[in-house]
Amino acid sequence: MEDEASGLFRRTSTRTRKVAAKMVAALASSDNRTQAALARLEALENDNAGIETIEINDDDEASLDEDEAYMKRQSKNTKRKTRQAKALENAKKAPRTFLELLQEANLESLPSHVPSYLKAAVGPPSCTSRRNFCTVCGYTANYTCVRCGVRFCSCRCQNIHNDTRCLKFVT
């Protein structure tokens, strides 16, 4: 009983909190890596990996054109409200990604016995060890880059890795 009571007055709480903050920072730095890994997996589902920047430019041009057309129409004194309403409608109709739709469907709220997209996922492997392949040449990799955590197999590959994609978090 007394032990418990004294436990209540222990002053360790502030100190542990400080340590925890450091831990959080440390975790965040390693989280960079997991986030990079996730981003990379995401990139595997991309349609146009290399052209994306051009796509954006295209969109800009298109929107510029629209703006110009819009200005012209405005100068001709057409109905302004309907245009705005249309723009709003278009924004509503703009295709959303599957993940957004999934979030919207709110499948977590379904009772546990109902099969859904989320429950059909196969889940983590039973054997957690992963084989490591060198990101430079593809053979079995025994070493890890100390800066970004990417695997490589030899000195030569390490040099190539350092020169090309270290800290770029691509693989």
Partner: protein
């Protein structure tokens, strides 16, 4: 006499035809593409006919296997129905194949597309595993699949892979397991590897698709094959060269030496004796990728060695890619284990492989090799491959559409108008 349009609307390829036919009359990419040389977006079959497919930018109506952009899909369907099939939607029914666990919002927009934009007379929505089962069961009337009326369909498609048990023509939906890896991710992975190691091909989706289809295969013994892949010169059974199109003489890329590319088939199938494979590998002095430099720079070409089998390898071990998901074999075991124990032996004995990504050579052999240790000793493992895995689902749909009571199973346009989407959907048990 009205006709039924059967449409297997996949994320990669759209298979469309008239119910009752043996083969679909249109198998076209389900996307819009714009080559760098033109300003116009090409739709579906125009893309196939297009000469110059370098740096095509793509727009797909599908994201992660689900239809997210109905407007885009409408353009593609329009092209398919009006120019390729030449049918009148208002006078025909539609059998549409939808992915499993389609979201309600997507179902609603699909219904809108079918009834309001195209005005089909009636609609039947099917899922792919049950259609594959139907086709296989009627294809081999005395086989186990048709006698037991149950099978395990492994559909390894463009966006994802499903292991789905089917019983009495119904997919057992609570037992379905999904692996988020399919042909698209594999192509993108190969793209990434080639771009880093030799030539930047990040924009060349169609080209790398072709490379993947022609050169990739599944390894039966990865450590052994890795050893072989680093041998120099002629001993390296895996090295092969792919020539990029130059835009003058040939517009399509091609494999430089087909015999060279096929050499891996001469390897003995020592799937069951992995130790033997190590023996001949050990004698070799490991040679680093210097040989890559021997590429003829006057031509645009690149060499592939270990990439050829490390890419499909990801389906069996997604963890290697940093994915927190189990491999295909474990996926199958989990799907079976979610079913009633009485079904287990039958399911293991009637595994059907379908989907384009199962076309990699030796896919079935490798799957059996991985599956055997995970399955109890007294059960048989029997993997059936379809003669055309890409069209398997469509053929099942064609069979279903030609059955006499098909019309009775459909939701008609008037029913849809009266009851709305959600009510009508209940009929399909989704």
């Amino acid at each position: 006499m009205s006709n039924v349009v059967v449409l297997d609307n996949g994320g990669g390829l759209c298979k469309a035809g008239i119910g009752g036919d043996r083969d679909p009359s249109a198998v076209v990419p389900n996307c819009l593409g714009r080559p760098s040389s033109s300003k116009k977006w090409l739709v579906a079959d125009q893309l196939q006919a297009c000469e110059d497919l370098t740096s095509v930018s793509l727009r797909r109506p599908f994201d992660r296997g689900y239809l997210i952009n109905p407007d885009l899909e409408k353009e593609i369907w329009d092209r398919i129905f009006r120019s390729l099939l030449r049918v009148d939607p208002t006078a025909s029914s539609l059998l549409l194949v939808e992915p499993l666990f389609n979201l309600p919002s997507i179902q609603r927009s699909t219904d809108e597309l079918v009834f309001e934009d195209f005005g089909f007379r009636s609609l039947y929505v099917a899922d792919s595993p049950s259609l594959v089962h139907l086709y296989e069961a009627s294809h081999r009337p005395d086989g186990l699949i048709s006698r037991a009326q149950c099978s395990l369909v492994v559909d390894c498609g463009f966006s994802f892979t499903h292991a789905a048990p089917v019983l009495q023509n119904f997919t057992i939906n609570y037992a379905v397991k999904r692996l988020d890896l399919g042909g698209k991710a594999l192509t993108n992975y190969l793209k990434e590897l080639v771009s880093y190691r030799s030539i930047n091909v990040m924009d060349e989706t169609f080209l790398i698709d072709d490379v993947k289809e022609k050169l990739c295969f599944v390894s039966l013994n990865v450590p052994r094959d890795l050893q072989i892949a680093r041998r120099p010169g002629k001993d390296n059974l895996f090295r092969c060269t792919y020539v990029l199109p130059d835009g003058v003489e040939h517009m399509k890329g091609y494999v430089k030496d087909l015999d060279e590319a096929q050499r891996y088939l001469t390897l003995p199938d020592e799937a069951w004796f992995p130790s033997q494979g190590m023996k001949d590998g050990c004698a070799e002095v490991p040679e680093k990728p210097e040989d890559r430099k021997r590429i003829d720079l006057t031509k645009n070409e690149f060499n592939l060695t270990n990439e050829r089998f490390l890419v499909p390898e990801m389906i069996f071990r997604p963890a290697d890619l940093g994915m927190n998901q189990a491999g295909l074999a474990e996926c199958i075991v989990r799907a079976v284990n979610s079913c009633h124990p009485h079904l287990h032996p039958v399911l293991y004995e009637s595994i059907i492989l379908t989907g384009g990504s199962t076309l990699f050579p030796r896919f079935a052999q490798r799957l059996e090799k991985e599956l055997r240790p995970l399955v109890p000793d007294d059960y048989h493992v029997q993997i059936t491959t379809q003669e055309d895995p890409i069209l398997g689902v469509w053929r099942g749909g064609s069979l279903l559409a030609s059955s006499p009571d098909f019309e009775a199973m459909c939701v008609t346009k008037s029913e849809y108008e009266e009851l709305g989407s959600a009510r009508c959907r209940r009929r399909f048990f989704h």
